[in-house]
Every structure is written in structure tokens, then in C-alpha cells.
Amino acid sequence: MKTKAIIIQNTGFLLIRTGTLIVIMSLFVMLGYIFYKGFSALSWEFFTEMPKNEMTGGGIFPAIVGTFYLMLGSSLISIPVGVITAIYLTEYAKNPGIVKIIRLGINNLAGVPSVVFGLFGLSLFVIFLGFGTSILAGSLTLGLLNLPVIIRSTEESLQVVPGTYREASLSLGATKWQTIYKVILPNALPGIMTGIMLSLGRAAGETAPVMFTAAAFYTPDLPVSVFNEIMALPYHIYVMATAGTHIQATRHLQYGTAIVLIALVLVLNMTGLILRYKFRKNLK
């Protein structure tokens, strides 16, 4: 009886360890394979040159620039709106009903599929407001898509700032805003930075919304205004891998571009995770 229970336990633990190992190995196999195949494509020219010979040669400079603009543009929307929403929810809102509804809205916004965000961006920004397929339309769409990411991480970091900090500041005669601005925000900043890093990573990696609102297969010049179309790293990978007559000829460029995108997203996310780790440790 006792030994049977132990055998079941050992089998159960073995299954769980195996399952976990499969998940972790899948990640390493995926990343390892792409790095292994694409490493040879990386060169200085790959980062700094325009595509050549109908995309079969040259570099991905315009796609890097485009992704950078989208990251920058989307954060101009998502950071201020997201941080202010989180401050309102944690510091100001008194009516639990309103908080509940807003929070439900945020959760549902986080669950809207990115392709639906793409449809929304297309119909509102590209067509209805007449921005066209452009940096502006893409940034607005990605900025709104990223709102829940910023709101949640900001809220979380505001909540862990000890209540005694607030009381101390208020008792010294500071107003609520002064307390938030001078005491709470500086203490929550590393946590907020985590959310910003995660949202930047997402803006860099999202494809479906970008292809409806901002991206072009190929642009001969770098963008000069927010109303220009741009190339973007994820869309570049998608197009090279699926469309056109040179799918095999551009294979090494596809791997190379994938490495650049993965590296960018990983650096942003790991910075975010490290910041959060340190932030939690400091407050303990």
C-alpha cells in the first residue's frame, strides 16, 4: 500500500519534470537553431545597408529604423495614458464600482486579438481619420494595444510602495499630487520601467496590426514624416518567408532578421525582468 503510493508519486513527479523539460528544451531548440542558421548572415552591412537585388541581398537597415519608430511612437501613447490610468486606479479612485468596470475594460482590452486591433487601426486611423498606411497609424494602434501592459505593471508597482510613505508625506503637509509626484512615483519607477520594457518588446514583435496600419513590403527611402509607410522587422521576416519568388534565395536573410528581432525583444524583456527582480528585492 505504502510502496504503491510511493511508486505513483515518483511516476507523477517524473511526468511533471519531463513536461517542464520539454517546454524549456523547445525554447532552447527554437532559439538555438535560428541563431545557428542565421549567424553567418550577420555583418556590419546587414545592419547598415538598404536591401538590394529585389531583397535578395544587402541589409535590413530600413526595417530596423521602422521598428525603432514604431517602438518610439507607440510609447508616446501608451506610457502617459497607461501610467496616468494606473495612478488614477491606485491613488485616486474611491468608487469601487468604477474601478471594477475600468479594470474589466483593461482585462478585455488585453484579450482583444491583435488582428482585431489591426482591423480597428485600419478602419479608424488609416481610413476614417485619413492617416493612410503610416508610422502615425501604426504607432497609435500599437500604443493602444500596449495600454494594458503598462497599466498592469504600473499598478502593481504603485501598490507595493508602502502606505507609510504616503502617510509620512501627507503628514508633512504635502498635497496628494505632491505626494504622488515626489514620493510614490520615484519609488515605483523601476517597476514602471519593467512595464515599459515589456511593452517596447511587444511593439517590436507585433506583426498583424503593423501589416494593416504601417508596414510596406519595401520602401526605397527612409521615412521623412509620420505619414510615411515603413518597413518593420517582423513584417520583413513574414514577407520574405512567405511571399515572392525568392523564398529560398533570401533564407539566410530571413534567419538573420529573425536573430535581430529575437535579440531586440530578449534584451528588452530581460532588462524588464531584471528591473522587476531588483525592485521586488529592494522593497522587501
Binding site: I6, M30, I84, Y92, T175, P234, Q254
Partner: protein, 303 residues
Amino acid sequence: MNDEKIKIRLKRRSIIFDILIEKFFFIIGLSSLLVLLTIMIFLIKEGLPLFKEISISDFIFGQEWYPTSGNPRFGILPLIISSLYITIIASLIAIPLSLSVAIYISELAGSTLREIVKPVVEIIASIPSVIVGFFGMVVVAPFLMTHFNIDSGLNLLNASLMLAFMAIPTIASISEDAISSVPMSLKEASYALGANRWQTIIHVTIPASLSGIWTAIILGVSRVIGETMIVLMVAGGAAVIPTSIFSPVRPLTSNIAAEMAEASVGGTHYRALFAIGIILFVITFLFNIIADYLSNKYKFKAS
């Protein structure tokens, strides 16, 4: 005297400023609701007029999707069934693996391994879907082709595998939160009754965190339904009702992404794609409401 007046005036000014700030923050705070509402309005505005041309039942139960032929037909049943199959198979793969990870992190791993496995799972969550799709195309597809002797590796199975990978971090991390929040006292009571660790996990810890695990599964499944780039790249793209696990399929999301560029603004095709968007929005919205309800209802109060 004069000093006092200035002080009072300054104080008053900062109080007024505070009130203005609060009003302003309230308005901004409503923005996510406003965005959600605007998404609904624009989906309806662009998608709903479709049903003046085609009846809802012809749209949903029609078996032929030929949007660009001379006699166009807009039946999305094959797309719905594709989405359904992919979601079911991906969930069957993702749920056991995710729960393994969640139980491993919360119950089995020592503190060092936990600090390694947890961030690794979060890294998976951050991998862009276009990368996962790319890997499915260049590695998994040829692998399936040679090992199962099929014409194309871009099919239902490939898409389900890649989507499962995508869903694992969502299900694993939310389940892990739920499992970790089960009070120690419950487990201790179980140990005191002579149960071993496995019996305690299966009969006490998991049942106690079941509502959290359901929340995790629902959110994970909702992500699978809405994921676009992976299915666009590896599902094969045939708008027919799949007959085997190796059939090429065309789920709802990839259909929108694949055809939006060729649909002329305001045309029937364009409206049909937005109508598919409405369906996706409604499904994921319902899933999120259920998840929200579950997570609020049976949560252990953090001690």
C-alpha cells in the same frame, strides 16, 4: 501678515491644482474603456452592413469561401471549424505541459531552479509570434513531411504545435500563481493525515486552486483563438473543412490577415472580413468575462 496671505494663496492654488489633476486623471483613466468601445463601434460600423447582402446563417453555416470569384460566396463554416480544431488540439497539447510547469515551479523546484525556470517561461511569452511561425515553417514543416510522408508540412498539426508553445506561458504562469496561493495550512493538514506530497498535490492543492487554473486555461485558449501570424504562416491556408490532422486549414484570424490587402474598402469582401473580426472579438470578450468572473469569485485572500 503679508507672508500669511501668500501662504494661504499658495495652499489654495495647490489644492485647486490637486482637484484639477484628479479630474484629468479620471478622464484619462476611462480611456481603456473608451478604446474598447471604439473598437466595437468600428467593427460594427464596417462589418455589420454585410448582413444586408448576406444572411447571418448563410455567412456562418455556408460551406464555401470564394470571396474573389465571379460569383463570390462568403460562407465561413470551414474557417470556424479550422479554428475550432486548431484550438482543441493546441489546448490538448498545451494544458498538460503548462500544468507540469506550474506544478514544477510551485511544488517541486528548489529555490535556485525556480529562479531559472520562471524567467525562462516568461521569455517564451515574449517571443514574437512571427518567430514561432517562422520556426514552424522552416523546421517543423520539413520534419513532419519527411517523418509522416505527407505532401505538405504546413497543416493542422503543425499550427496546433506552434500555438500550444505560444499558449504555454499564459496558462503556466497564471496556474502557478493560483497553485502558489493555496495556504500552507491546507497542505499541512493533508500531510498530517499521512498523505504524501503527490497525494497532497492531486487531492488538496490542485482542487483548491482549480478556479485559478480554469482562469488560466480560458485565457490561454482565448489567446490561441486570437493568434494570427502563426496560423497564417504554418496552417496551410486551405479554406475547406479539414479531414485529418494533416489537412491544411485556414482559421478565422489568418483569413483576415491573408485577405485584407486584396479586399477593396467598403466592398462585400472587406465587410465580411470585419464581420469575422466581430466574431473573434465576441468570442474572446466572452472568454475574458468568464475568466474575470472565475478569478474574482474563488480567489484565496492573500495573507
